[in-house]
Amino acid sequence: MSDMDEQDLRAQRAGRGGSGGLRPLEEKGGALLRVLDWIDFRVKFRESFLPSIVHPIPRNTASWWYVFGSATLVCLILQVVTGICLALVYVPSAGEAWQSLVHLNYVQPLGWFLRGMHYWGSNFMVALMTIHLIQVFMFGAYKYPRELTWLVGCVLFICTLGMAFTGQVMRFDQDAYWGLGIGASMAARFPLIGQEVVQLMLGGPIIAGETLSRFFALHVFVIPGLLLGLVGLHLLLVVKIGINEWPMPGRLVTRERYLEEYHELVERDGEPFVPHGVTRDVVFAGIVMLAIAAFAAYFGPKGPSGLPDPTLIETNPRPDFWFLSLFSVFALLPPYMETALILTAPVVLIALAFLLPFYSNTGEKSWQRRPGAWILVIMVFLMLGVLTWLGTYSPWSPDMTAWSGAPVPVHYVQASSPLELQGALVVQAKQCRNCHQLGDGGGLRGPNLDGVASRLTRDQLIRQVLQGGGNMPAYGKNLSPAEVTALVAFLTTLHPAGELPARDSAVPAPEPAAAAGGTRPGDAG
């Protein structure tokens, strides 16, 4: 390679450059610049990427609303870096993973911080990705000609949730172990091939060594490989098609004229992508990284919770935040539709997301004229929000320790008869409190017992206790007649002061005077 060539090339570039892009490297530049130039002459980075770097984008896209995609990418890069660090110490073996996590937390210098970065980084990544998704949806950016960008983005979304789930398995504790059990139990609902799917998922007959290795391979090789490749494609599409312009109400997308209009827009009111389009991204990227580091430093890593020993059954498995809504769905779905929904809902939801840019391909982009988009986003947000909120305190789960840990409030047993006191004991000893609240403590599965006597008569209480029903087990075989008598005697005292207990409508109501020894009106005749 002669010097002539290089000089020619520089002259060419100097002639071409200047449209607000990067300055061509100067002959008189420092040694570093000359080294870079020497490298670039061979790699041809500028030749390949300069057009993309300086390509004009609509001026109005330089907005804080456009920073969430790049922020998600920043999280991904951070996850790769912290993930590699963790892999230096973490042992992907069912027998030793938990110990290596504890070692990372307490022995390995700064291991706790890197675990925290990886955990909070994943939370930030899912959150920012979700905001990015909503922004893209509300700005109509998925419409012609950006359908493929949206499709790739959907796959990236699924991959990221896949990383969140498999990452939860890497934190190989009791939550991870029983989370895998839930996954396997769901897979088993496939008709005909259920058992095969379970064995393929677990790598064997039970959740054990090969299961963790499988999820490790998914979390560390398969899904990240997919993610990185697809992110490249996603970015390529963004650069090649151009960033979605700020949607103006009334400016409709048509297949015939859109490309022309977009071209006109960037000609008339465009700015080079770098630096104009990335300034806010750079600022926000820094803020995101600082925030993740701050969360990691302040809150630290999550878990590991208990040792993943399946014989330790005193456990309360809960999924990570992003899967709490699913956890709630499985508790609240009627049993008859559960299998059908587990098998079809994911397919239908993914298909709807994939098809969105095809049934809403052109037309209005602005959120100001798409009330349906608002309704959809608000509905989904409310639905997932409520389910997640329910998942945080899971009112459907029995409170396993309430029967021994939450005493009957004292004022309920003051001035009680011996029989009623005995009944209060039955309420505690027979685990009624695991599902029923009394005062402040107890489970939320069944109705609160504080005012039960104003809802049910003595006979109804007896029937409910013996036969159950309405999601309550029948206690007929588990309580002696004496226990039932005592229990119901106590329950009939549970009504607010000044409110009469429930009574059978077939029996005439006692007059307040009757209690004082007066005669009933009917007796006079």
Binding site: A184, T311, A331, P335, S397, W403, Q431, P473
Partner: protein, 170 residues
């Protein structure tokens, strides 16, 4: 080069390309077979089941339900504690037993036994079962999964080895 010779060379190159593609297809298929076979190795056995000892009968007093554990018969050395399996043994009397999987029939969480109210309760989605394993309330679509058992001398044996699910109820 004469046009004829050129087209001949072109044909030769096309032919070589076809051969190349064919060799690649053959090689890829040959390699894919063991790769798929390797990944699906867990499927070679349709059912993993073996008789395992749960312990002496004296550990399971009549009229009571107790937690028992066994080591999964199909393990690798790095399974650690995960190769342990827990189950509930209910001794009805006269060596009549019921051995329940600890996994809830709904989505597999470990159920707990409450001897006072004679109920199994699940911590995840609120499934509840009676002492005989039948469903009492909550989302489970059926009762608890039950192991086959045998009394051999003074010992209780069960046929286990697989995570019980709706597709394979032990």
């Amino acid at each position: 080069m004469a046009p004829e010779a050129q087209s001949q060379a072109g044909t030769r190159r096309n032919f070589l390309m076809k051969i190349g593609i064919a060799i690649n297809v053959v090689a890829a298929s040959l390699i894919a077979v063991p790769i798929v076979g390797f990944i699906a190795a867990a499927l070679r056995k349709r059912s993993y089941q073996a008789w395992v000892e749960l312990g002496p009968l004296s550990a399971f007093p009549a009229g009571q339900t107790r937690l028992a554990t066994y080591q999964n018969p199909f393990t690798v050395p790095w399974d650690g504690k995960t190769s342990n399996v827990a189950c509930w043994v209910r001794h009805l009397g006269a060596n009549q037993m019921q051995v329940f999987a600890v996994n809830c029939a709904h989505l597999g969480c470990p159920v707990r036994w409450f001897p006072e109210s004679k109920l199994f309760m699940c911590p995840c989605h609120g499934g509840v079962y009676y002492e005989d394993g039948s469903r009492a309330s909550g989302p489970p679509p059926r009762g608890l999964f039950e192991y086959e058992y045998e009394v051999r001398g003074d010992e209780l044996w069960v046929r286990g080895g697989q995570m019980p699910t709706l597709a394979n109820p032990v």
